[in-house]
Symmetry: C2
Subunit: 336 residues, 2 copies
Amino acid sequence: MRSKQPTIKDVARLAGVSKTTVGRVISGEQDRVSEDTRERVNAAIRMLGYERNVIATSLRTDQTFIVALSIPDIMNPFWPEVARGVQDTFEAQGYTVALLNSDWDATREANHLQTVRRNRFDGIVLNPIKITNNELKSLSTPAVLLGSGDDYPDFDSVGSNSTGAVYTALRHLIELGHTRIGLIAGVSQRSRRDTRYHCYADMHYQSGLSLDESLVVRAPYSRTGGADAMRQLLSLPHPPTAVLAGNDILAIGALLAGQGAGLTVPDDLSIIGIDDIYAAATTSPPLTTVAKPKYEIGVQAAALLLEKIRGVTHDVPQKLLLDGHLQVRQTTSPPA
Amino acid sequence: MRSKQPTIKDVARLAGVSKTTVGRVISGEQDRVSEDTRERVNAAIRMLGYERNVIATSLRTDQTFIVALSIPDIMNPFWPEVARGVQDTFEAQGYTVALLNSDWDATREANHLQTVRRNRFDGIVLNPIKITNNELKSLSTPAVLLGSGDDYPDFDSVGSNSTGAVYTALRHLIELGHTRIGLIAGVSQRSRRDTRYHCYADMHYQSGLSLDESLVVRAPYSRTGGADAMRQLLSLPHPPTAVLAGNDILAIGALLAGQGAGLTVPDDLSIIGIDDIYAAATTSPPLTTVAKPKYEIGVQAAALLLEKIRGVTHDVPQKLLLDGHLQVRQTTSPPA
DNA sequence: TTTGTTATGGGGAACGTTCCCATTTTTGAA
DNA sequence: TTCAAAAATGGGAACGTTCCCCATAACAAA
C-alpha cells in the first residue's frame, strides 16, 4: 500500500559510497568522513527524501526514544498539566511520549506495563495503581513514580507535599480568624493513609483549637461527593464557618452546595481547596486554593527518568515532594 | 545496563524446537503446530518470562501499532476528552497512541510529522496547523483530521457542526425573547472563515431581527479576551440583554466580567457558550452552553483512521460533522 | 510396495540499521 | 622517494522477528 521509503542503501548507491559511510553521516559522526563526501551524501538524502528508519535503529541499539506516561485519566483536570510537563521535557530531548490511561484499574495498569516491555520503551513515568515495588523492579525498565512514592523504596518519585498543602490551607483559615473549620476528606479506591485528616488534627493541636470530629466528613473525590459533604456539614447544629476540601473538585462541589443552600461565600462561609485546577479560577467567586506545581511535577519526573535512562545513578532513590503555594482568590475571608 | 531479555531462540532451545515453531506459537497460528509442542513452547515462554520484541516484528512487518495524535495543547480544556476518545478506541484494537502538542506552531507540527515518518507510526490523527493537503498527502502515512477538514479534500475528517451550534445557541436565546444579542467571536492564529459571525448574521435575517454591528466584538480565545469583550459590550449606550460567546472560555470570561460589573446573571444578562468544557458546569451560576460531542469526535476519528490503516477505502473521503446539543444550565433566562 | 496426501517441523533470507574490523588513500616527515 | 601514521572508507555480521519454501513422518489408498 504505502510506497516504500528509501533506505541508506539507496542513498549510498546514489551518492556512490558505502552504506557504512551513509550511516556515519546520518548519525552525525564528525571525524570519520570527509567534508566532501558528507555533502554528496546529504545531497542524495535530500534528493531521495530519505528518512532514517528508527525501527531498524532501535532493533540494533536497543533504544526506542519512546517513553510511556501512565496516569489515571487525562480527563481528570489534575493531569493535563502534569502530562504536559512530562512531554515538554522529553520532547526537548528527542523523545516521544505514549500516553496511557489506567482508570485506577489494575488490569489496565498491567497491560500498560506489558506494552512498555513488548515495545521496548525506554522508560515509564507512572502513577501506580496496584503494582508493587518488586513487580516494578522485575520490569527492569527505568521507571519514575508520580505521587508520594511511599511504598516504592527502590524508585525515584515526584509528588506534591500534601501535608504542607493542608497546613498552608489551614494556617490561612486560622489566620483569618476561623475556629470551627470543616474538613471534607476525599476517599479513593486505593486505601492510602489519611494524611489530610492527620494534618488537620495536628494543626488543631498546634493552634490550641478544639477538635470536633463531627466537622470531618469523608466523600468520594467528585463534585457530588463534595456537595453531599457540604450539606452534611451545613445540617450540623453548629456548622463550620470555613471548610477545607481535599481537592478542588470537592471544593467546587462544596461551593455550589453552599450557595445552593442560600449561603454567601465567603461572607457566610469560607471555602478553600487544594490543587488549583483550571476550573478553580472560573467559579464565582473564584476559589481560593493551595496550588500544586502540576507542570513542574511532570518536568521533574521526566528529568529524573531521563537521568535514569542515561545511566546517571544516585546512591539513593530521589523522593521529590514539591511544595504548593497559597493562591488566594475570593472564597475565603474572616468569619462573620 | 538493562538485563537482556530472552528471544525466541532461547525459547526454542528450552522447548527443543526451532525458532520458526516458536514464532508460530506466539503469533497464534492455529494449524501448523501440534497441541503437544504448543504447550511445550508456552511452558518455555512462561519459564523464561519471554516477551515478544515488537521492534523486531515491526521491522519485519512494517507495522508499529503506534499512532500519533497531534493536538494544539492537552492543557486546553477542550482536548482531553477528544484525546481520551481517540485513545480508548485505539487501545481496544491493540494500538498505542503517542500524544503530540503542536501549540499552534507550524515548526512543531512539522517536527511531529517527521517523528511519525521516522518512527514508521501506523497513522496520525491531527488538528492541522499549517500543513497543506498536498504536504499531508506526500507524507504517505494514513491520516485523519480533527476539525472541519475544509482545506483537505483528500482526507477524512471529524469535527463538530459549528454552524449548527451557533444556530442552536441563538435559537435558544431568541426563543427566550431576546432581541439584542451580543456576539463575542473568537479570533485565532490561523485565519479561518468567520462561521460564527456568518451564522449570527444569517440567524438575525431569518428571525427578522435587526443586526447591530456594534454588538459583535472579536477577541482572542482566552478568559481575558472574553472579559474585555464583555466590558466593551457593556459600555455600549444600549447594551445587549444576552451574549453568545464563541466558546466556553470566552463565555466564562464574559460571565466573570459581567458579574464584576455588578450585573446579575441571568436576570440582567444571559450568557451562552459553546463546547461544554469541564469548567462550564462549575461556574456560578453554571453556564448554559452548546455541548460538543468531544469524546465522540475522538472515537470517530480513531475509527476512521483504523479503517484507513486496514485498507478499507471509501470512494470519497469521509467528512463527519457531529452535532452538539443544547445544555441548558443557569446563565440564560428571558430578558428582564 | 508404491504413491499421494496431510500434518508437522525446520532452514535461512530478509527487514534497515549499527558497529567492529579491515582496507585503501592521504599526509607529512625523514 | 620512502614509509609510518593518520584519515577515510568499506564489508559483513548482528539485532529478533516473519515467512517462504523445503523436509520428514505418518498414514491411507492403490
